[in-house]
C-alpha cells in the first residue's frame, strides 16, 4: 500500500501552548485513520494543518509525495468540528451551491441518499437539529467525490441509530477507495471503523498502529473490574497488574481462573465483578490517564 498522506515533523504553537508538537506519521491509501485523544490534545489542529486550512509553524504535509497546494482542495472533502451554514437558504440550495464549486461533483440524489437528507431538503439551514446539521455537513464533505475525507468528530451529537447509519456510510465511502481521516471520542466507533488509530495527547502522538496491535502490545489477557469501597486494600496489594481508580479496581490477568481463586481466598467481595476483553477505551484511559482531561 502506498501512503496517500504523509506528515513530517509538524508543529503548531499558540503562544506558549504547543497544540501540535513535532508530529510525524503516514496514512496508507484507502484506509480509515482514527485520531483519538482527550479534549485539547491537538486533534483538530493536526487535521486542519493536514487539510491546508491552518499553516503549521514547522513541518510539512505531503499528498502522494508532494507538498499540498492549491489543487489539494479539489480532491478533499472536509467536515469541520464546528461550522455555520450560509443563512436563509435551504439544505437543497446549499447542496447546489457547494456542487457548483467542483468541476465534477457527485450527483445530488446520490449525496441526498447517502446522507439521508430526503426529509429535510426544503428546510432552512438555520432550522436543522444538531444531528441533521451533522448529516448536512457530512454531505458537503462528500460532494467533491474526494480522494481523502477529513471528518472532525462527525458523530458527536448523533443519536445511536444515526451513528450506525453514519458507520454504514463510512463503509460505502471506503468502498470507493476514499481514504477517511476522522477524529472521535467514541472508542467503539474507532475500533469498528479504523484500520489504524493514533492516540494523541498534549500535542504528541503517543501510539499509532492497528487497534488489535495496540491492544496486544498494552494488554495481556483480560480485565477484571470490581467496585471498590475502600476495604481490603491490604488483601489486594499482593496482585500484579492491579490499577486502583477512585471507585473501582481493575485487574489485568492472563490467568483468569487463578486470579479469581486468589481474590476469593483473599475474601474480597465479588459482588459487581465484571470481566471483559480490553478495548480501545481501556487503552485510551491507560495512555492518557483520564478520559476527561481538558
Amino acid at each position: 500500500m502506498t501512503d496517500i498522506l504523509r506528515v513530517e515533523n509538524l508543529s503548531k504553537y499558540y503562544g506558549s501552548v504547543k497544540a501540535v508538537d513535532n508530529v510525524s506519521f503516514a496514512i496508507p491509501e484507502g484506509i480509515c485513520f482514527g485520531l483519538l485523544g482527550p479534549n485539547g490534545a491537538g486533534k483538530t489542529t493536526t487535521i486542519e494543518i493536514m487539510e491546508g486550512i491552518t499553516a503549521p509553524n514547522a513541518g510539512r504535509v505531503l499528498f502522494r509525495g508532494t507538498p499540498i497546494g492549491a489543487d489539494f482542495k479539489k480532491k478533499v472533502g472536509i467536515q469541520f468540528q464546528t461550522t455555520a451554514l450560509p443563512e436563509f437558504i435551504t439544505v437543497k440550495e446549499t447542496l447546489e451551491l457547494f456542487s457548483a464549486f467542483y468541476a465534477n461533483p457527485r450527483p445530488m440524489d446520490e449525496v441526498i441518499r447517502l446522507c439521508s437528507l430526503e426529509d429535510i431538503l426544503q428546510r432552512d439551514n438555520q432550522k436543522l437539529s444538531g444531528g441533521q446539521k451533522q448529516r448536512m455537513l457530512l454531505a458537503l464533505a462528500i460532494i467533491p467525490k474526494p480522494e481523502v475525507v477529513f471528518l472532525d468528530e462527525p458523530t458527536t451529537g448523533l443519536d445511536p441509530q444515526a451513528r450506525r447509519n453514519f458507520w454504514d456510510l463510512i463503509g460505502r465511502i471506503k468502498a470507493e477507495k476514499t481514504t477517511v481521516i476522522l477524529t472521535t471520542h467514541y472508542m467503539d466507533e474507532a475500533q469498528l471503523l479504523c484500520e489504524q488509530v493514533a492516540i494523541m495527547d498534549q500535542g504528541k502522538i503517543m501510539e499509532i498502529d492497528t487497534p488489535d496491535a495496540l491492544l496486544a502490545k498494552h494488554f495481556d489477557g483480560v480485565l477484571i473490574s470490581l467496585p471498590y469501597d475502600g476495604c481490603c486494600s491490604d488483601a489486594l496489594s499482593g496482585f500484579d497488574g492491579l490499577v486502583m481508580h477512585d471507585d473501582s479496581i481493575e485487574l489485568q490477568t492472563t490467568t483468569l481462573d487463578t486470579s479469581l481463586k486468589k481474590l476469593l481466598a483473599a475474601h474480597v467481595d465479588l459482588e459487581g465483578l465484571s470481566i471483559h476483553k480490553p478495548n480501545l477505551e481501556d487503552l485510551f484511559i491507560k495512555l492518557t490517564g483520564s478520559s476527561l482531561r481538558t
Binding site: 486550512i53 469541520f80 464546528t82 461550522t83 455555520a84 450560509p86 457548483a100 464549486f101 468541476a103
Partner: protein, 342 residues
C-alpha cells in the same frame, strides 16, 4: 468553472437578502418613508430665513444685510450666485463689484426683499452712503427647486451608503466569525471570486433598491429631472461600487461584528453629517467643506444634484465620477491585499 462558482455564490447571497424579510423591507421602505416624510414636513416652505447672496465686499450702509432674519452667503463668482438665484436657493443677490442687485421674478420672497431693499436704501442719505440709485437691477428667472427635489439624491445616497457598507462589511465579518468563510476556504473557490460575487450581488440589490425608491417616490412627488436618467443610473452604480469596496476594506480581516459595526458607524456618521444629505454645506466653515470633499457620498450626491437640478451631462460630472472610480480602485486593491478567510 469560475463563472459557475460565481453564479452560485451570487444566487445564494441574493436569496439570502430577499429572504431576510426584516432587512429587505427596511432597505426598501425606510428611504421611501423618509423622502415622503421630508417632502410633507417641508411642503409649507415656511423657512424663517431669507437668503441673500453677496458678491464682493459688502458696504455697511446696506442695512438689509444687518437684519437678523437674513442669512448672508458670500460667493466668489457672480455666475454661481445667479444660478442659485434662478433655482430659488437664494432669494436675493447683491453684487458689490458690479453695483447690481438681482431678483428672481418668480420668487415671492425675492420680490419682497427688493421692496425692502429699495425702501431701506432710498431712506439712507449722506455722503459716501449707497442709495438705491447706486445699484442696477437685474432680473433673473427660473423655477423653484423644491426641497424634496434637492433631498432625494441625498436620501438615496444615504440609503446606498448604509446598504452597501453594512450589507457587505457586516455580513462578511459575521461569516468569518461563525465559520462560513472557513468552510468556503476548504473548497476550491478563490477568495477573489467569492468576494466579487458578494459585491456583485450587493451592487444589483442596492441599484434596484435605489431605482425603486426613486421611481416610487417620483410617482407622488414628480421630481425635477433636467438631465439624463441613464447618466444618473451610471453615477449611482459607480457610487454603490465605491461604497461596497469601502465595505470590503472593513470586512477584509475583522472577526468581531461589534467592532465592525462600531467602525462602520465611525465612517458613516461624518459622511451623513458632512456630505450634504439633508442640508447644504454652503456657508459652513471652509474646513468642513474641505473634509467633505474626501467623502464618496459627497461626490455622489453633488453629481446627482447636478444631473437632476442643473441638467448636467457626463462632462460636467466627470470630476465626481473620476473621484468615485479612483477611490473604488484604491479600496479594491486594499481589500484584496488585506483579505483573510479566517
Amino acid at each position: 468553472m469560475i463563472i459557475r462558482q460565481f453564479a452560485a455564490l451570487f444566487k445564494a447571497r441574493t436569496m439570502e437578502f430577499v429572504r431576510d424579510r426584516g432587512t429587505f423591507y427596511w432597505n426598501l421602505l425606510f428611504p421611501v418613508i423618509l423622502v415622503l416624510g421630508m417632502a410633507f414636513a417641508f411642503s409649507g416652505s415656511d423657512e424663517k430665513l431669507y437668503k441673500i447672496g453677496v458678491v464682493g465686499s459688502p458696504d455697511a450702509s446696506v442695512r438689509i444685510l444687518g437684519m437678523e432674519q437674513m442669512h448672508v452667503i458670500h460667493y466668489d463668482q457672480a455666475g454661481d450666485a445667479l444660478e442659485k438665484l434662478a433655482r430659488h436657493q437664494i432669494d436675493f443677490l447683491l453684487d458689490f463689484d458690479k453695483r447690481e442687485f438681482a431678483v428672481n421674478e418668480e420668487s415671492n420672497k425675492g420680490r419682497f426683499l427688493r421692496e425692502l431693499f429699495t425702501a431701506q436704501q432710498s431712506a439712507v442719505g449722506g455722503t459716501g452712503l449707497l442709495t438705491v440709485e447706486a445699484f442696477d437691477e437685474r432680473a433673473v428667472s427660473g423655477k423653484a427647486t423644491r426641497y424634496v427635489d434637492w433631498l432625494v439624491p441625498g436620501v438615496i445616497g444615504m440609503n446606498m451608503m448604509f446598504s452597501s457598507l453594512f450589507g457587505v462589511g457586516y455580513v462578511l465579518v459575521r461569516y468569518r466569525k461563525n465559520g462560513v468563510l472557513k468552510r468556503l476556504k476548504a473548497t476550491p473557490v478563490h477568495a477573489l471570486n467569492f468576494v466579487s460575487a458578494q459585491a456583485a450581488s450587493r451592487l444589483v440589490i442596492v441599484l434596484l433598491t435605489s431605482v425603486f425608491v426613486f421611481s416610487g417616490t417620483n410617482l407622488l412627488l414628480h421630481f425635477v429631472m433636467r438631465g439624463s436618467y441613464l447618466n444618473l443610473l451610471l453615477l449611482t452604480a459607480m457610487g454603490i461600487l465605491c461604497m461596497i469596496s469601502l465595505g470590503l476594506v472593513f470586512a477584509s480581516r475583522m472577526r468581531s461584528e461589534e467592532l465592525a459595526g462600531g467602525l462602520l458607524n465611525i465612517v458613516t456618521f461624518p459622511m451623513l453629517a458632512l456630505s450634504g444629505v439633508f442640508f447644504s454645506l454652503e456657508g459652513s466653515p471652509a474646513i468642513l467643506r474641505t473634509i467633505s470633499r474626501a467623502f464618496p457620498l459627497t461626490h455622489f450626491i453633488e453629481a446627482a444634484r447636478k444631473i437632476m437640478l442643473d441638467g448636467a451631462g457626463l462632462a460636467q460630472i466627470a470630476p465626481n465620477l473620476f473621484f468615485l472610480g479612483g477611490l473604488t480602485v484604491i479600496f479594491l486593491i486594499l481589500s484584496s491585499a488585506l483579505f483573510r478567510w479566517e
